[in-house]
Amino acid sequence: MTLDNVMPGQGGVISSIGGQGMLRRRLLDMGLTPNTKVRVRKVAPMGDPMELLLRNYVLTIRKEEASKIELKEVFNS
């Protein structure tokens, strides 16, 4: 399952980061690395971007970018 399909309130553990170039590097730099726990807190009023909680801070990314992030476990928190 990819991160963009995760509902607000749910979370998961990252298995891999797709994409390439600057985008991919940026996601990795911001701490979205394999085995990191991520929680989806919210989706913006217009349906995009989404608000994430990871490594004890809040990050926002677009769904298009989130679709590059593959999760291995999904849980309700």
Binding site: S16, D29, K42, A44, P45, M46, E51, V58, T60, R62
Partner: protein
Amino acid sequence: MKYVIALAGNQNSGKTTLYNALTGSNQHVGNFPGVTIEKKEGLIKKHKEVSLVDLPGIYSLSPYTMEEVVTRDFILEEHPDVILNIVDGTNIERNLYLTLQLMELSTPMVIALNMMDEVESSGNSIDVNKLSKLLGIPVVPISASKEEGISELVDVIVKTAQEKEQPKKLDFCSGEVHKAIHSISHLIEDQAKKAGYPVRFAATKLVEGDEPTFEMLNITENQAHIIEHVVEEMERGLNTDREAALADMRYDYIGRICRDTVFKKQETKEQVRSEKIDRVLTNKYFGIPIFFGIMFFIFWVTFGVIGAPLQGLLEQLIGNFTDFIARLMITHDVSDWVYSLVINGVFAGVGSVLSFLPIIVILFFFLSLLEDSGYMARVAFLMDKLLRKIGLSGRSFVPMLVGFGCSVPAIMATRTLASERDRKMTIILTPFMSCSAKLPIYGMITATFFPDNAAVVMISLYILGIVVAILSGLLLKSTIFKGEPVPFVMELPAYRVPSRRSVLLHMWQKAKDFIQRAFTIIFIATIIIWFLQSFDWSLNMVADSSDSMLAAIGSVISPVFIPLGFNDWRASTALITGLTAKEAVVSTLSVLTGTSTDMQLSAVLNTIFTPLSAFSFLTFTLLYMPCVAAFAASRREFGSTKYAVLAAAYQTITAYIVGMIIYQIGILFV
């Protein structure tokens, strides 16, 4: 002895607050050469021998954004004595990611561990001594906003600069990555030294496949093969690719450090509070209405409640002073041209510069509050979807909105945008938002030609400006700003109460900046226009400005506008004077037509324009290059006269083409 300290850290880590606390108002603001990235330099208070350079807020040294390149180049080429790395203690994991990369640059380093007050008041703690020992770098706990720990920090900085001690530990890699970095280190050691690159940094960058490093070190084809082989081996061993491997290695190391040093029982009060505030401010239903409510309030206060009276007061003061000087000159019987120079040139110029000041100061008071509180990031979150299609992100929304009030502060507000590409595009597009100085023109023309549909015509102009901005955005996105946009991966910082010092300093800087940069250019422009308007070609002063050089120039230019449906020297002259300030278009028209009331002017305008050509004239005034004050602001933000001139040319050509299309299509139907 003079030391240079480079301040580096993540965005939202309190970097600016620390910078202000260390240097006070003693700052020189400029740009890094060739880019629209702000460079602040100042001397540390009570240590005039130590200067502090504020580097852009970044999260990593991967050289994808200009901000990262600037930081990296500054440290590698300018060789600061110490890197002062500010780390947000409430968000330590992600902040240390940059720290580990900075450590590779083999420059003496000090960590300022910020927001320790928040960490402690929430019952959490960080073992600072242990952290310092594990990293091999001095770590000083501070609270930049409360100015705690600042003098201790300064002492440590000075001591580190004197002792020149480099970070001790670099080996935070393990296993396969360790193997790869080390074998490449041996391979390229000599070349790295020759190029002035720290070996460890160079090796890491080569593992990551960083092109600039390959070039700087003159890596031979043979070496490149070996490097590729080593890296592929590493990738096979770890079953992941090189970029993920390095990011993972750093975060893994950070994780181990934090386990030993960070004792966290709960989220900080600020984080809990932020989540509650966001339940309202980024609420699915209320979020956007609240945002527009806030912006409406800011506009109302800036341009109405405080702005207008303040501007009136300022005008009155200038008026009184002008009268005083005028009387003085009359009693001393100075010649006509001196009188005219002082009153119509100098005072008019100073007056138009000063008239922007109240707006800039008040607007930046509010914008700093929005920025420093953390709300601006939420606006980007709310509005991102709207701006994405034209290749921008939600962060550009506020500058563009401010553009409806005045382009000058709007362009100045682009400085807080996180990417250079977004800044440049926003500076070019913002002037298409119809600013309030154009209203008198719309008012005059619509009253004359469209008295029954005034509102429709005005609204259509505002919409036209937005449509042209959107089309321009699409055009720019697929031409000069082609290529990968900086991804919208943005932190939403915890809400914080803005510090009074930062807000005041920001207002003061913007005001100072505007006066310094805009003064010369606006002043010169006003004097030139005055000169052209007051003299004929044999440099005799003219009584009637229709005999002036400006009128002659207007007549020469005039035929250019035939495709737009008007060909009158008074109209083209008014467009020229409109460059000093847009509202001058109306006053020039009335001076050149020799009319003193709106009624009379209307009558003459009817002989210059048809309703259709009046509309194309309005379109042109809406879209053509902004006034010189806005031009000066864009030159300042671009950091380049060339770019500012190109932007102005683009806007004027766009205005011409749109005006022409409207007129040419219009005559088919009229």
